[in-house]
């Protein structure tokens, strides 16, 4: 009985899109934490030494994009995975 139900479920429902969406949601956690840490450090640094802000911003953007690209790659992978 249950095996028939399972077999039917396997043939009729494609859950790839949902799984890919869950995967992307999990994958976005890491970059989220990373970006938060970077800007927290910039805010801290600016609070301690306001005149260093312009220098900090340059470094912050570079490190921000290195982290942000992980989330963007996750999005591309989501579309690849949900189509399969």
């Amino acid at each position: 009985m249950s095996s028939i139900v399972l077999a039917e479920a396997a043939t009729s429902v494609n859950i790839n899109a949902g799984l890919a969406a869950i995967g992307y949601g999990l994958g976005a956690v890491g970059p989220g934490i990373g970006v938060g840490l970077i800007w927290a450090a910039v805010i801290n640094g600016t609070a301690r030494q306001p005149e260093a802000q312009s220098k900090l911003m340059g470094i912050a953007w570079i490190s921000f994009v290195l982290v942000e690209v992980l989330a963007l790659i996750g999005l591309v992978v989501y579309f690849i995975a949900s189509a399969a």
Partner: protein, 259 residues
């Protein structure tokens, strides 16, 4: 809003990657191709007109053009490449910045409403140009063997670590860093435009829903779409800045001397 949906060639509510494949306008010319040509015309005309008769005391239009140029030259190129070597690269960095900026901004300009960079082919073309530049100047500066040594064997590392570090650095500098340069701008534009599509098409879908009490919810959806458009404007400018910034950063890294 209806016009937007029609202009996008949207077929139904959950928008997907297929919504970015637009039908050709004539022959095999599609909308992104037209937009790229348009962007070049816009940039060239604007800067030719703004710099036609330069004065020591700048007029308003000259001041705006000078500010954009100053940003590309001093804030991006000089900061990242270094005061000594940055001059030959100013035209490249400045062109990259303005070109990506205008093409990204097409995403929120009414009627045009399509960020060219959301088709992977266009960022790839820019990426190839930047890739060739980075490594050409690197080989020229350090010599053939010297450049590989410069990339793969950074100084002040214990000898045994090089077994791990050298291949990682090689793949990083020759494949991933420049490739992600293209993927970054592509994915950001793709995601941003898709977000706008979700809310505009979602509003339409709610309006056309059979149950009557869902119809007012479409107003909320369109309000969010308008808010997202402002967010998009920010991201589009930011991505153009980042593209130029990272290109300059890679050129600077290829040129850097050993300390």
């Amino acid at each position: 809003m209806r016009a937007l949906v029609l202009a996008e060639g949207g077929s139904g509510f959950p928008p997907g990657a297929d919504d970015f494949v637009l039908p050709p306008i004539f022959g095999s010319v599609t909308k992104p191709m037209v937009l790229v040509v348009l962007s070049v015309i816009i940039i060239a005309t604007y800067f030719l007109l703004a710099t036609r008769n330069l004065k020591i005391v700048p007029s308003k239009s000259q001041f705006v053009a000078e500010t954009i140029y100053d940003f590309g030259r001093n804030n991006i190129a000089r900061e990242q490449i270094g005061t000594k070597d940055f001059r030959p690269f100013v035209p490249l960095i400045f062109s990259l910045f303005t070109f990506v900026l205008v093409n990204n901004l097409f995403g929120i300009i009414p009627i045009l409403q399509f960020p060219t960079m959301s088709r992977i082919g266009f960022p790839i073309a820019l990426f190839i140009m930047v890739y060739l530049t980075i490594h050409a100047v690197g080989f020229k500066r350090h010599g053939f063997v010297g450049y590989f040594k410069h990339v793969m064997f950074p100084p002040n590392v214990p000898k045994a670590i090089y077994i791990l570090l050298a291949p990682i650095e090689f793949v990083q500098r020759f494949v991933f860093q420049p490739l992600f340069l293209a993927v970054r701008v592509f994915a950001a534009m793709f995601a941003g435009h898709l977000l706008l599509l979700v809310f505009t098409l979602g509003g339409t879908a709610l309006l056309e829903a059979s149950t009557g009490f869902l119809k007012p919810a479409s107003v909320v959806s369109w309000a969010i779409a308008i808010a997202m458009t402002f967010l998009e404007a920010l991201i589009e400018v930011l991505q153009a800045y980042i593209f130029a910034l990272l290109s300059a950063n890679f050129i600077g890294a290829a040129l850097a001397q050993e300390h």
